[in-house]
Amino acid sequence: SQTIHQWPATLVQPVGSPLSLECTVEGTSNPNLYWYRQAAGRGLQLLFYSVGIGQISSEVPQNLSASRPQDRQFILSSKKLLLSDSGFYLCAWGGDKVLTEAFFGQGTRLTVV
């Protein structure tokens, strides 16, 4: 069966520091991969999605970036964090090609101080 791993679970970082959140999927090949952010009291905002290695689509312009160095690995990064980057970050995967459902990791709570 497919599983998705996301780490770390919690992270406290100072303003201006770099960020790297990692997500890996097991039990499937060529998944669509997604990064969502959930700000306090708000819904989920799609940040990036990837349909294949090296293919990244950005939905929201910001100081975050994403990379997909391997088929089942998706990384969210920042060179310099802002206070507004605080939130709950969720990685998700969907089936190959057309998305018919998505499965989520356990999330990372990022607090920028």
């Binding site: 989920l44 799609l46 998700a92 090609k97 998305l99 459902e101 499965f103």
Partner: protein
């Protein structure tokens, strides 16, 4: 552009009772998928139920069922025999692009003894 609207920020229901959460959406596509996700205090996003737009029959999963009104672009979730473990944020979501889910802002459901 697709939009998903959940007009009930908070709801409460007594244990064993039935509650209905509302969701309306807008899309110009004829083929799309609708979802309800549950996010308990652990923050893990859990798929509750899925509906394919071209299927007339309303989806059901045990105590969870939907009322899908395609012409009205309405997709409500009914939870029967509510349990304390149903306490969570519930998100309605839509995909019509085949690439990503678009979420509503969520409804916080509290089940009371």
């Amino acid at each position: 552009a697709q939009t998903v609207t959940q007009s009930q920020p908070e709801m409460s229901v007594q244990e064993a009772e039935t509650v209905t959460l509302s969701c309306t959406y807008d899309t110009s596509e004829s083929n799309y998928y609708l979802f309800w996700y549950k996010q308990p205090p652990s923050r893990q996003m859990i798929l509750v139920i899925r509906q394919e737009a071209y299927k007339q029959q309303n989806a059901t999963e045990n105590r969870f069922s939907v009322n899908f009104q395609k012409a009205a672009k309405s997709f409500s979730l009914k939870i029967s025999d509510s349990q304390l473990g149903d306490t969570a944020m519930y998100f309605c979501a839509l995909t019509d692009s085949g690439y990503a889910l678009n979420f509503g802002k969520g409804t916080s459901l509290l089940v009371t003894p």
